[in-house]
């Protein structure tokens, strides 16, 4: 059992504080959905977890399986078992997904050819043409193709906890089903813990969350089971946003 524990996490960019006290624990095999309005800081949370330069953690802690992640480089966090699917997968000319997998696994004891065979097999499962593994990663690929390729790397690199930032964006219905079923299987068979960031509950019909969290203004303001996602789907985030709270109070006064 591995856990990603986030405690009272505050983080900022040069110009503003974005995370204002996040508390969350994601354990092996669990699926947590983080939902919230645009600009609430969901993607920032994913970047801060992975250690992207440009953010400063001012308070709080992040541990993975008891190890403090703060102060570690991004790749060191990845080596400890953390994985991030970026909302917008990055294009890199001349660097193929196969090569990334190869270099990432070089220091591991895994049999490299076995890893690449596995990648090739997974490509077939995920409906990815083999040549997508060999050309510049994400180059000249549709949004959906990119997300499939991200999923392939997730499956091949075998992290213990994965943060999926809008895995659903760009995917069509069929793609969404293929990708989320594969992630679901990883949670069941390999005990992958997942934090999935999304705007819509469409993804969550395929990838069943154990917990749903509402993220507003840089922190979790409510948590519940999957029924919370349905509620958000029908009512939106209005109930949770501060301006709405004000109007509720005013309504009470009148």
């Amino acid at each position: 059992m591995v856990d990603l524990a986030i405690k009272n996490l505050h983080a900022r960019t040069e110009s503003a504080e974005i995370l204002t006290g996040v508390n969350l624990t994601v354990r092996s095999g669990e699926v947590h959905a983080l939902m919230g309005p645009n600009g609430s800081g969901k993607s920032t949370l994913s970047h801060v977890l992975m250690g992207r330069p440009g953010y400063t953690v001012t308070q709080g802690e992040i541990t993975l399986d008891g190890e403090n992640l703060l102060g570690l480089k991004t790749w060191e966090r990845a080596k400890l078992g953390l994985f991030l699917v970026l909302q917008y997968p990055v294009e890199i000319e001349g660097v193929s997904a196969s090569k990334i997998i190869e270099v990432s696994q070089l220091s591991q004891n895994d049999d490299l050819s076995e890893v690449l065979r596995h990648a090739s097999q997974e490509a077939e499962n995920l409906g990815i043409p083999q040549d997508h593994l060999e050309r510049g990663v994400n180059l000249d690929m549709s949004g959906g193709e990119k997300k499939r390729l991200e999923t392939l790397q997730l499956v091949t690199l075998k992290p213990s906890i994965a943060v999926l930032d809008e895995l659903d964006s760009g995917l069509d219905v069929d793609g969404l089903r293929v990708v989320s079923n594969r992630v679901q299987r990883l949670t069941e068979e390999d005990g992958l813990g997942v934090l999935v960031i999304t705007h819509y509950s469409r993804l969550l019909e395929e990838l069943k969350p154990d917990y749903v969290h509402v993220f507003v203004e840089g922190k979790i303001v409510a948590s519940g089971d999957s029924s919370l996602a349905d509620e958000l789907e029908s009512d939106g985030y209005e109930k949770w946003t501060p301006s709405t709270e004000t109007s509720v109070t005013l309504g009470g006064l009148s």
């Binding site: 992975m50 992207r52 330069p53 440009g54 480089k73 991004t74 790749w75 990845a78 080596k79 994985f83 991030l84 970026l86 997968p89 990055v90 890199i92 000319e93 001349g94 660097v95 090569k99 990334i100 997998i101 270099v103 990432s104 696994q105 070089l106 510049g136 790397q153 690199l157």
Partner: protein, 409 residues
Amino acid sequence: MYTPELVQELEGHGWLMDLRRQAAVNATEFSYPSHEDEEWRYSPIEDLELDLFTPALTKPQSGTEMDHGKDGNFHNISTLDGFLLSNDEVSTCDVHSASGQKDPIEFEPPIDMLGSMNLAFSPDPVFIRVPRGSNVGKPLVIHHQWNQEGAACFPLVHVEVEENAEVEIVEIFHNAEVSSLVIPETKIIVGNGSNVNYQQVQNLNQDVWQLGTLDVSVGQQATFQGAIAAIGGAYARLKTSCSLIGRGASGKISAIYHGDSNQVLDFRTHQRHIARDTYSELLFKGVLDDQSNSIYTGLIHVANEASGTNAFQTNRTLKLCDQAWAESVPNLEIENNDVKCSHASTVSPVDEIQRFYLESRGVPTFEAEKLIVHGFLQEVVSSLPVEAINTWIADLFNHKLNARMAHSG
């Protein structure tokens, strides 16, 4: 130092000696390069003290073994300090030194000081003639090497490819751990209907100044595919000119370069469209580390008569260090309306988000940068024109990149 009298010490028949003397006189009459001249702009040329170097005028006894190409896959030609040391027998073309030739060879008179010096002091101008209809087969590999401390060397290679012939040529510049000045000139004439693939590898040590010229002319329905791989030199300059003189001629030129420490790598290019329906494509990509500099200035010139021209020019430089500096100036000069031309140039640091992405896959920072650099150069490396030595060139660049890793610890 570089006087017409000095020419007497070289060997050659009367016609060549006359030519050399005249060139030495001309050299003194041309103006000395200045960074105020457009073609020397941004360069450190004024730091050059010619008199610190002595022309290499006596033939050395032997050279050290070359590190590449001494197997049966190539026709090898070796020069040492500018002297022709050895050349394999090639039945499909003619290779010889002009200094042993009785009958005069026609030389175009040089148009500047360096060209004149090269002609004056080149001890063995190497002539290669590929006869009409001939296919040379294995690549001709010319190893230029110099071993003398403080020497000024003047390799001169003149290639004439007659009609409907095919040849692959490689020039490799390298040297022992000496400080020297190299002024090489290579001229290639591609005859009508011929195909020439050319690769230059500049792997000098970092105490050498190179002021080189590559001058190509391409005839009707002929193709030239050339590439430059530049790694070494303190200040290493190559001025490349590709003239498309026959209708339907095509010239592609690419380069990869990697500078580090205080190196200055300087490229001047000129794509000259003189005839109709001609095509040129230029792609120069380089990487700069430490405090190294690169200079690229390129001109596409389309003459009034050259309708139907397609001409493209791209220079991209990736900076691995904030202190590295690159100048990139593409230019167009078009005298005809029926043309398709483009030019592009970028100088940028390693993309932070690309590095983050790779790291998020468990790729250590340095490996991530290596992958990005490797991928960046791959576009050129994958299409280098002389396939037989591509792996070797890729290894040279990887070696330099890996050395960086060892260096940065």
